[in-house]
Symmetry: C2
Subunit: 417 residues, 2 copies
């Protein structure tokens, strides 16, 4: 379908000209480079820049030839906006004659993690998820802890084990309670967490908080995050310092960073907060994002039989209790600085209804209501060979749909098995 | 005092020829470079390498001209050992004629954080500290949680706010309970944590645990760590995901990394562990380190009056319950990988006796027994203007003392005050 652009985009593509997400890909023997996705193609930004087609955007010299986007995103929101707008102009101008090597088939790229992640912070911002986990982990007490409605609870995850979509995930081993006693072995409760993350562009200064109203100046773009979790390891270890080995073995992210600009038409008013939050968390901007999300599961047997992945969860991001702006304002209010490439993830996105939960422990209620797969088996948690796919797209009313793409990963057996 | 070396070393220096710790310093207008400390001097490794004096060590070309030690430490233990031994040979050989710019006064260097820290993990490995904090934070329950003797409890801290000794620390603000209600403002319970950390040299592979018996192959060297803590912010936020803003505003480290080789003569048998630990945590090597530690405090008024800092804590590292090898084996047993420059800190080092506690909350028992300063004031927690200095030295029986140097920091008022 021609759209008047020199790269054609099929209807329904996650990556129309209104999107233009940035990523890092490699093709043939060449090293990783910066690309922008458009339909089934991708534009090699290094080639376009060398041809002078991105002049005037303010992107630092040579930043698109590096193996990550850090130097580009560090230049800040205005540069990112200018680069995306310039690309839209070029694509919309039939007179543009790009170097032939500037346009590649997207499927030919080997995608990488788009940024070198400095610090990775994971929040806990869905009311439904926090309530569900409270009920499951602390059945004898009030599910929401006293702090939950006052601040966006979060913690630091492991940046060094962030991997890109498509990377296999080895089943972790660790200590978990078996018959009431700690015992070492592979997790028997391997789970996923469906999350949406954002990547920092412009840095902040240590000692100087980022106010919620200016958070957008520091956010480069969004991706999907699968925060793999070993629930049994987590349950034994997490008191009093929080999750560690139950999470640190792998966190998968989607390869294309969708800019805040591309998501502007999909911003909505977030749910009201009660009680009112502290001043530093207040912001009238519509920081809800009308993103629809789904989780798909495909066993090894389903793959062998050619069966499509099964949708197990459908949910929405727009009713998250705590917003990205609040998360960023909170994380920096103590003077902690942020660096280009830092990743902030939302925490599991769960809705209020059955089938809208963003983790298996919630979806199956720790196995009480297992998922039935078309291969005749059931799942409480993940089995070896299972592939999990998270998909997301912004679909605000009256606006072109903007895909976040997908993040997938397949479980491989524990070491020594 | 001449020692037969071409750089003289005063008796009692923390940095005799048996030490030779590595760091990153800048002098005059030049950028940061790799140095080794010797007595009151430092050797510019880039200059020595360019003069061919470090040939054959296996250090990667140009690695000493970089603003951090990452590429050097990534080369692994054997290269670090060879470089240190080569420097000892050179220093012991009166015939060595180093380029004059290779030797600088140590006090002329502006020291930096010696490595770009990828991930920072903080443990909780002192039995006395864990018991004390349990009593203070959870007075109605058993102070040691059920997992504590089974695994080295730890969590991820913020790598991006690790600062070098001498950096001022701004008092953080955040939400804390005031009269039972959450209220925003500067912490009223600013504390320190006296810790010893180690920096990773050789990387490991994701999915492949580092066995405890080979942990030493991945440890480049040790430093002192002050894990500044805002106890009131921490107390309100830390359930269920652990400390976040109460810790993430700053972590100070000493600038000179003391190699594992330099500490070899100071290894001792650690305390017995009961119950016996899981197989992956077992290792017969003497991973206790005979390091003596102290905390000094100096108020603004004391400084103005020329009064020396007051020693408020004296303690020892050799009775830590969990060892560095166990911490590393634990952190990777789930397949999490480590990268050169990752920092692992011990958690607060506290002894069993009054005056051996590594944090103010323990030392003053949350203010019940305040510290009396020579300026006539008392301290439960830190006041603006207070300077904290941590010092450490390995002093194993019959071996030359090996200093870890010191890490200092001065508290400056909260933003907007």
């Amino acid at each position: 379908v021609s759209t008047g652009h020199w790269v054609e985009v099929e209807d329904g593509s996650p990556f129309p000209v209104e999107n233009l997400p940035f990523g890092i890909g490699a093709i043939g023997p060449s090293g990783p480079r910066a690309f922008v996705a458009i339909g089934d193609h991708a534009l090699n930004l290094g080639v376009l820049a060398e041809a002078g087609l991105l002049d005037g955007c303010g992107a630092p010299e040579g930043c698109f030839l590096e193996p990550n986007l850090n130097r580009f995103v560090a230049a800040g929101r205005a540069v990112a906006s200018a680069a995306r707008e310039r690309l839209q102009e070029l694509l919309g101008d039939p007179a543009t004659v790009p170097p032939p090597e500037a346009v590649v088939e997207r499927s030919s790229l080997r995608m990488g993690v788009p940024v070198a992640v400095g610090d990775y912070v994971d929040f806990y911002s869905s009311l439904h998820h926090a309530r569900n986990l409270g009920r499951l982990f602390r059945p004898d007490s009030e599910p929401l802890l006293p702090n939950w409605r006052h601040l966006p609870v979060g913690y630091h995850g492991r940046a060094g084990t962030i991997v890109v979509s498509g990377t296999d995930v080895r089943r972790p081993s660790g200590l978990r309670l078996v018959g009431g006693s700690p015992s070492f072995g592979p997790t028997a409760a391997l789970d996923i967490e469906l999350e949406v993350g954002f990547v920092i562009g412009a840095a902040s200064t240590r000692g100087v908080p980022v106010p919620a109203p200016t958070a957008g100046d520091h956010i480069f773009g969004f991706c999907l995050v699968n925060d793999w979790s070993a629930r049994d390891i987590q349950a034994f270890e997490y008191q009093p310092l929080g999750p560690f080995l139950g999470k640190s073995f792998a966190t998968s992210i989607s390869p294309w960073l969708v800019t805040l600009d591309a998501l502007e038409p999909h911003r909505v008013v977030p749910p009201p907060q009660d009680p009112p939050v502290a001043g530093y968390l207040r912001d009238d901007r519509p920081w809800g994002l009308a993103i629809e999300l789904e989780v798909l599961l495909q066993s090894q047997a389903m793959r062998s039989a050619g069966a499509d992945p099964l949708v197990v969860t459908r949910t929405r991001f727009d009713d998250m209790y705590w917003t990205p702006a609040q998360q960023l304002a909170h994380a920096t209010v103590n003077g902690a600085s942020i660096r280009p490439g830092d990743l902030f993830a939302s925490g599991t996105v769960s809705g209020p209804d059955r089938g809208s939960e963003g983790s298996l422990i919630e979806l199956t209620w720790r196995g009480e209501r297992p998922i039935e797969l078309p291969d005749g088996t059931t799942r409480a948690f993940l089995e070896d060979g299972d592939r999990v796919i998270l998909r997301g797209w912004a679909a605000g009313e009256g606006a072109t749909r903007i895909g976040l793409g997908e993040v997938s990963g397949t479980v491989v057996p524990a070491s020594g098995e």
